[in-house]
Each structure stands twice: as structure tokens, then as C-alpha cells.
Subunit: 415 residues, 2 copies
Amino acid sequence: MKGFFQLISSTDFLKLFKQFSPIQTETIPLKSALGRIPAKPIIAPEQLPPFSRSTMDGFAVRARDTFGCGESEPALLEIVGEIAMGAPGTAVTLRPGQTCRIWTGGELPTQADSVVMVEYSRLLDETTVEVFKPVAPGENVIQAGEDTRPGQTILPGNTRLRPQDLGVLAGLGITELEVYRQAVVTILSTGDELVPPDNQPGPGQIRDINSTTLAALVTETGAIARQGGIIADDLPLMLNTCRQAVAQSDMVLLSGGSSVGKRDFTLKVLEQLDHAKLLAHGVAIRPGKPTILARIHNKAVFGLPGHVSSAMVVFYLFVRPLLLRLSGLEEQNSLLAIEAVTDQQIPSAIGREEYVRVQLDWKSQDKRPVATPIYGKSGILSPLVKADGLLAISRDCEGIDQGQPVSVLLFPGSS
Amino acid sequence: MKGFFQLISSTDFLKLFKQFSPIQTETIPLKSALGRIPAKPIIAPEQLPPFSRSTMDGFAVRARDTFGCGESEPALLEIVGEIAMGAPGTAVTLRPGQTCRIWTGGELPTQADSVVMVEYSRLLDETTVEVFKPVAPGENVIQAGEDTRPGQTILPGNTRLRPQDLGVLAGLGITELEVYRQAVVTILSTGDELVPPDNQPGPGQIRDINSTTLAALVTETGAIARQGGIIADDLPLMLNTCRQAVAQSDMVLLSGGSSVGKRDFTLKVLEQLDHAKLLAHGVAIRPGKPTILARIHNKAVFGLPGHVSSAMVVFYLFVRPLLLRLSGLEEQNSLLAIEAVTDQQIPSAIGREEYVRVQLDWKSQDKRPVATPIYGKSGILSPLVKADGLLAISRDCEGIDQGQPVSVLLFPGSS
């Protein structure tokens, strides 16, 4: 029977991504680097801290001068100065029995090896302080180079930069760095029935939902979304628009043209695109069966299901991992998988992986949230808004029991 | 002993946030609304879908014409036309025994109540089709208004907009909407020892790490970070800079000035700021004890610990929830809490809540990740880079056993 799909498993689909490599890199300022992905490990150019620093407010001492002291037998030290913040502490040298006031972050004087917290000291007069708790050498001090040494790998490449990572780079004076550029993804909606969201649909027409949703999904992934607009079901027009989109982007998402009736259309377009190689045409998952993937050199063209809820599942399962791979991320785990328990039985058909939308209730007594399936026909939008994630049921499983622990793929904005 | 803090519990600290209200709203285009927070529930202005649509490619039929048919006894129907996509399907009326070709998303003809999938049909000639599986009325059809009805609440207010939410709004023709404006947060680093990251520090000087880290944390929260720069330890200068920062922002983060030695400085500034009300001065958590919070009308001024690792903990525990509250979010859960198991004993001191940085290994046999504590002096930066989240130990707990299930607050970029 002509018209059926050649289904491959989701595992085999993901293996196809090995045919793609990360895209080019660019150099950007540190200030814009949140969420970006360094192209290679980052090496410390110098030591941190640059000098031995106090981690407390108090008195810089030679530790042995405090040995044996206590509440009843305080050590008496001569105050010979104060290390002002930002001043060179090593300009002062402590002789036995001497101390210097110091603040958190201040540079230790020469010969000082530790700091007594101000809480364990008592001033007798301007130049004398009693210390009533001994310190060990190195106590309340970070040694020069203790944090990082020159040549040390500070951050691995191929992971996303987080706020704390940027902080460490700032501390090392690394104010620009090489990262993968953001992948550009062009989104095309196909269908004679579609009008842009700001138009009033005529009879038989409907507003384009997929462009807005897919663009936001691309943005959420850290890539750049280009809305290519709506293309009528017209082969030469579609071919021409696709050719341009491929030239201008790293990935093209065609949505709406992969149902049984229209996929020949998408296929014809892909066949006629120069150098296009069809990698997959149908996946054994539900929803998301009519997914198409083609490769043009290192560029990807996806044919996505027309229903936005199915397109979204395919996006999270396949488009996002491939986009992360193109963007240079080493781990392409698409969504965070968390453990939940089900509140009811969830039946499933043998022979294909099923992805059930679920709502999560975090207020349960259990440490794990409770997952409730959100059912609805695949063309219906309103259940989408209620869902927090996807519960995966494997192809050899007939269903999930009530109260069974399950793994839920969490939608990024849903926590 | 002068100089000790008046500690309050983290629970009491969070209760102070009731004194703050969400900030103003603004109207923005749908295209820029990802992650933004609607100021009120969004109501459907019209019905969706606007007409009864097919969810399959196939033949629109009167269901009763297929009743009783089967592989051996197909129903024979007369094809009277094809509903082109985007064309008014209701222009055609089906009489008994008649059918129309239809595509996914097409408008049903008048008198049609269901759709036979193309897979269950066989063309005899141009105008005759055999149907060998009966359909029930409504099968493979979404009724007009079945998804949403005019006046129905589509999205609650006060939650972040996700890609799927934007899609539903696009479908309803809502192309602009009222959201809370993004809170503006000014970040000031204080300390004579600090130089900007692109400067070479002199003796006793160190690069400012906190401005970069805090700005990225603010950005990650969805607010707008303004780097106010480094202020020397000079009271009139600090007071003047703070006054300006308060005037220009919804929140001010002062970092570096809250250790025992410098906090009087921050306190003096807060006392002299017009209308400033000191709400808290010290929290019973570790790290993060020297945290200060003041309110000026509906604006917040935080004094944060000087060590960036401590400042980051305080940011996630307190600054971020307050920022989310100002931004109009109903749930101000700062970080996602997931269940993990520990790989070793973790001791803790009675009397204060402890937040231990942990690295998570997701590749364990267990469904839950394994948490390994990352120790390091609080002034050391390199452990920060390894940590994926924070393990909370309550104030009455002496420690966590090896293999014990624990709750880990996940850093946003770490999954």
C-alpha cells in the first residue's frame, strides 16, 4: 500500500546525528557569554588569587605566636599597622609577636601565615591585642595560586557557560572568548489554509500556530530563529523558498507538509534540493510518526508533523538534540528527566514508543511529583498549556500502573 | 560583643517579601513574549477551531453511510469533490452516499460528521471509493469551538509564557499582550581592592568577580542587569551612588560590604538613604550569614556577602525569589528541587541551615542522580564551576548519611 511510512526507532533516528558536526566559532565579549558554549577548554592565564589573602576580618599573625593561647591565657600581640584594602600587604613584615589588622580579601604581610578572626580578639589599647584562640598556619588564608595555577584547565569546552563560570573567567581577566556561534534556524509553515496570527482567517482558513511555537522553541534552545513565513502548497515556490532558507541557515524546519497527503510534496522538495540526502522518513513514536530528516552537507532540514502538539514532541526529542550538537554541546540530553509517580493507569500500544503529556503536582507528600496524563486530540491546543512534560512509554510496554515510578522529561519553562 | 549579627531564619527572611508587590506592566508583541509573565489571565476572544476540521487525510463522510461496512463488504461512496486546503468546505453539501476528499485541517462539508482515513479506503474510479472500516460520528474531526470557546480562560496570569503558550495565543490572534515589565537590578561592587576584569590588578588588588556573576544571575532570572561598577570604600561616594541606583532600578545589589568589618558601612549607607527601612541583618544559614535587606517603598536593597560563592547561594535562596515576586510570578520557587542520593556522609553543624554545593552524576543505575559534595574554602572559585546545585541541610540536623535520599536545588544552567 503506497503511502505508508518506513518507520525507524527513535534510537536509530538519534544515531543519524553523528553525520553532523558543530558549526563555526566566533569571539565574543565575556559580558554576552551567558549560555554560550566555549569551543575549547579554557586555560588559566595566571594564578588566582594573585597573592595570599585573608578570608576573614581580623589580625594577620605568625601562627606560632598564638600556639597554646586560650580564654584564660590570651596571647598578647603588638599591632604594627593595618593592611588597607587594595594596598600591598607585603610592604609590611611581621616580626615575632607582631600583628597587623587585616580585612577579608586583604593581602597578608610578609612573614604572616594565618589570620585570627576579630571575634577571637580583644583590643587592650591602640597597639596591643589579646588573642584567645590559637590558629594553625594557613588558617583563614587562601594562598597565592591555591585557587588556580597558570596553565590549569578552568572550564571544559562544549558545555554551556553559567553565571558562576563567567565569574571565574572575570577573576582571571578573560574578558573575551571563543564560542560556537548560535545556530540559525529558519522556520517555514506550509499550507494553503494558513494565515499569519495577526490576520482574520476567512472560511476554511486558520491562523499559523507552528511558526510562533517553533520560533520560541528554537529561541529557548539558545539558537537564532528566523521566521520564514507561510508558503502555499505550490512546489516551485516551496522549492525556491527552501533553497534560500538552506543557504541562509544551519537548519530548516518545514512544518505542516509531512502528513500522508502532503509529505510527497515535502519529499519532492527535498529530492530536488541540491545535495540533499534523505536520512529518515517516519519514526516509530506517537505522536510524531510523520517526521522527515534530510542532510545537505552539514545542514539539516526537518519535515515536522502539522499538529503543533506533535511538532513540539518531535522538537524536544529530535530537533533540539541535533541543534545542541550543531551548537557544540557535548551532552545533547534534550530535556531534564526527573522521577515522578503516576496518579492513574496509563495504557499504551505495543510496537511504538509513546510520549504522553503530563501535568506535575509538586505539592505531594512524596519527594517526587505526581504525574497526571493530559489527554486531548492531537489537533487540540488547550491541553498543551496544562502540560509540564512528557512521560515516555517504551515500545514493548503495554502501559504504566497507577503509583508506578516513572521518568518525566521536563519542559524547560515548567519548573 | 559588638559586631555580631542578629540572625533570623531563612523562613522568616522569606516572609519579609510580603512587604513587596509586583511592579508595573507593559504591552509587548507576542513575538517577544517568551519567558514573560502576563499580568492577568488571558481570555479567548473567539472560538478555536473556527470551524469543524478534519484531523486526518481521507474522505469526509456522513458516518451512518459507513455503518456495517468491512473488508469483505466495503461501503461504496460517490466522490463529489475535494475540499482544497483553505477553501470553505461548507460550500459543498453531502447527500446520503456521497463523500468528499479532505486533507488534515480541512473544513468539513455541510452534513459531513466524520472522516474516513485514506488508509481505510480504495479508489474504484475517479468518482467512486470503497470504505472498509466504519467511522463513528465525530471520528477524526475536531468540532468548531471544541478547543476553546470565546470567554474561556486560556492562560492564568502570573506564570511564565512558554513556547506552547505563545502558540495558543497566536492561534487565537492575540498578537500583543500585557505583561509585567522586566525588573531592573543595579549591581554595585564595593571595595578599594577591586579593579574591573579587563584591568591588570596591582599589588593587593584583585579583579571584581561579583559584578559579572551577579549580572549573569539577574539575566538568568529574566530581569535586566545594570552593572553599576566598583565603588571605593568611601561613605559619601557610596551613599550617592546607591541613591542614584535606587532611583534608576527596582532592586540594588551591594556586594562586598557586608563582612563584619565593612557592614557598618553598608548599614550607614542604608540608614542615610531616604525612606530606607532595614528588614533583616544576618540570616542563620551557611554560607550567607552576613546578608542585609532593606526596603525603600517597593524597592529592595540587598547587602550580599563578599565571597562570590556565598553571594551566589544568597542570590538563589533570597534575591531570586524576591525578584520573581517583583516580576509578578505567582510561584516564587527559586530553584527546581530534585531527589538525589548522597555518595558519602555529609556532616553539618546544629543551629543553622547549611547549603552544600554538590556535583550530580546522572549516569547512576538508580533513577536518581548521585550527589557528591564539592568542598572548598568560601573564597575559592574553582569548586563553583564543578557544582550543579545545592543540598540543603536543616538547622536541627547533624548531617546526612551516605546513600540517604536528599533534595537538591538545581542550578538553572546545570541540567
